[in-house]
Amino acid sequence: MDKAAIIGVGQTKYDREKNKDFPELVYEAVRNALDDAGMELNDIDNVVTTSNDFFDGRTIACMGVADAAGSYGKDATNVEGDGTFSAVYGLMRTIGGTYNTTLITAHCKMSEVNPRKLFNQAFDPIYERMLGIDDVGSAGLQARAYMKRFGITDRQVAMIAVKNRNNGSNNPLVPATSYVSVEEVLNSPPLASPIKSLEASSFADGACAIILANQNKANKWAKKPIWVKGVGHCTDTYRLGERDLTYSNALAQAAKKAYQMAGINEPIRDLDVVEITENFSHQELMWYEALGFCRLGDGGKLIEAGSTEMSGELPVNPSGGALSANPVQVTGLARIAEAVLQLRGEAGRHQVSNVKTALAHGTHGICGQSQCVWILSNQEN
């Protein structure tokens, strides 16, 4: 792969409810990204937006943010899915020969919708949709299957919620929370057993934008370009009844490709910080295993050992992750933005020390059907 770097990132604050409409949110993120890169819109060659017609409540939802995303007078395109996938397409466009710089945006306002009904629309209308099942119910099926197979305890799963929610209290971009304990998580109202309320992500409103540049332009613009070392994305089978819900093979395959490109052999040693999309706390344990941070079934032990805490060997989600703020579609792109801040040493109160290589992860679909992995570094070579 030709070299490319992230040379600007911009995020809005992620709130439960924003007093802005979609284009106003997107402009805020884009302006922040341009200012961060020291660029003006003229310096951008093309734009990739991310939208979802169900969550935005209109067909061709990308139309609504065209001007705000800076599409005027440029080649623009639109990906539907998590922002990490839009960024993959943005990367292709950056190194594909036609463009030098690409702006990627994602926006979401969960406050405007009924999420469960929209997630239900992801199920096959010919078959399971009539059951009324959604993201939460299916995650409950997944959590129990996973925990049963490997003897994962409720406490281990709750520890993820505690870690991420408490990490989030150091991130000024996510809604403020007070300290939560394992007991509070375990005692929070049941949602879809064994999942409890505090173990589900916190839906939010917000937007994020990143700017990619190929090698020609990256060093010209950025004070601290963050280099793309590897990417991989992969999609598992659709139906829950056909999928191994206890292990994300799709994530393992996506990671394998990204690791190969980046020359990562032992992820827990070679990576310095990780930002992943854990829509439910048990998924973070599953993602540890698929990402090769521990052996199959050892996710619970990894969190118990404190390895992924801020003070651990490989901090995961210093930003607080999706459990702290989950503006669906934006969430993965925000993980990339957070990884960039870590690699530049600009993450403030949630900065991890000595970061050279970071992993950012996004997921899309029900129970992590589709997965995307990015490896980023502050070292060009």
């Binding site: 979802n52 169900f54 067909t59 599409s71 395109t77 899915g81 036609t98 990417v231 659709y238 059907q369």
Partner: protein, 384 residues
């Protein structure tokens, strides 16, 4: 520069008003198999997939996830792109960029729609801003009709000029076994068909169809092994400058101008009428087949009717437009613009059977959709 990329296979379903025998996944699967057959590949040869449609036509969220069984994309990378009517163009560009980036070698782009599964106009009307324009958006026919009224007044064009375009596209469809509407018609038939919105009549308008199309893109090193004469992608461009329907300047057609100017520049085309051998244009109404010609550097403003009357865009003319029958005869919306690219590629590869134009070296395909989003692609028989 990126990796040289070519189209090596094209597949489509037959298109019809309603496919009851297959669900969406199964419909997609038919196009995928046809494309594989065309390129003499197996599903294992495909490294990555891009899929697109419009969500509210079938009400399926996360179509890229739902479509895995039809695509044959189990444990493979899949991305969904969507931009409304132009989705097919967006898909083609995305497939091309997958390969030109060097990240993938053989990539399949699939567009599909089952317009029979909902009220197409209801779903389309939800594309307008819901709190400002939705209730007043009865579709694209109004502005197109008004535009052609003005055009007739200003340049002396006639309803018959538009009818000539309708007759050309519809009768070309007789040569295309995949086309949805295949009926011989005359200018008189078009003129006598029911008026939908003055001066646009029923036979001046596109149908709605169920159908799917798949196009396979491959890197230089793979493409030449797969097919002796693939269709090389020389350039693609898109322009999208509007947020509200009321923003668009119908007289100036700025996004059409911008998209074609950009694509000509990237492909090094200075005299399109002379340099392009065949075109597959996304013309949703026959009137577009008149007015838009003025914006594609074929002639001075107002001269399109002259070219049309001379027949230069007919099958036996200088630059045949829509040998496949175009959008007027087939319109599964998410696939429609990808069919344009696929048909243009077939022309380059010399595989368009009864609708083949002789000696095609350069072909152009366009897409139109959403808030006047235009896309254009240039394919050639020679490498870029």
């Amino acid at each position: 520069m990126g990796i040289r990329t070519a189209i090596v296979g094209v597949g489509q379903t037959h298109h019809t008003s309603k496919r009851r025998d297959v669900n969406g996944q199964e419909l997609i699967n038919e196009a995928v198999r046809q494309a594989l057959l065309d390129a003499e590949l197996t599903i294992k040869d495909i490294d990555a997939f891009v899929i697109g449609n419009m969500d509210h036509f079938e009400a399926i969220n996360y179509v890229d996830c739902w479509g895995v069984d039809g695509l044959g994309s189990y444990m493979k990378p899949v991305i969904k792109v969507t931009t409304g009517g132009s989705t097919g163009g967006t898909l083609g560009t995305c497939g091309y960029q997958h390969v030109s980036s060097g990240l993938f070698e053989v990539v399949m782009a699939i567009g599909w729609e089952k317009n029979s599964e909902s009220d197409t106009q209801a779903a389309i009307s939800t594309c307008a801003n819901p709190i400002f324009e939705r209730d007043f958006f009865g579709g694209a026919i109004g502005p197109n009709a008004a535009q052609y009224s003005m055009y007739m007044k200003e340049f002396g064009a006639t309803q018959e000029d538009a009818a000539l375009v309708a007759v050309r596209d519809h009768n070309n469809a007789l040569n295309n076994p995949f086309a949805h509407v295949r009926k011989f018609m005359t200018v008189e038939d078009v003129m006598k068909s029911p008026m939908l919105c003055y001066p646009i009549k029923l036979l001046d308008s596109c149908p709605r169809s169920d159908g799917a199309c798949a196009v396979i893109y491959a890197s230089e090193s793979k493409a030449e092994k797969i097919r002796k004469s693939p269709a090389w992608v020389h350039a693609s461009a898109v322009s999208h400058d509007c947020t509200y329907f009321g923003d668009y300047d119908w007289e100036g057609q700025p996004t059409l101008n911008a998209a074609v100017e950009r694509v000509y520049k990237r492909a090094g085309i200075t005299n399109p009428l002379r340099e392009i051998d065949v075109m597959e244009l996304y013309l949703p109404f026959s009137t577009c087949g008149v007015v838009w010609m003025d914006h594609m550097h074929f002639c001075e403003r107002g001269e399109a009717p002259k070219l049309i009357r001379k027949g230069i865009f007919n099958m036996d003319g200088e630059v045949p437009i829509n040998p496949s029958g175009g959008v007027l005869s087939t319109n599964p919306i998410g696939a429609t613009a990808l069919i344009r690219i696929g048909e243009a590629a077939l022309q380059i590869m010399g595989r368009a059977d009864a609708r083949q134009v002789s000696n095609v070296k350069t072909a152009m395909a366009t897409a139109f959709g959403s808030c006047y989003w235009y896309e254009a692609t240039i394919l050639r028989s020679t490498k870029p």
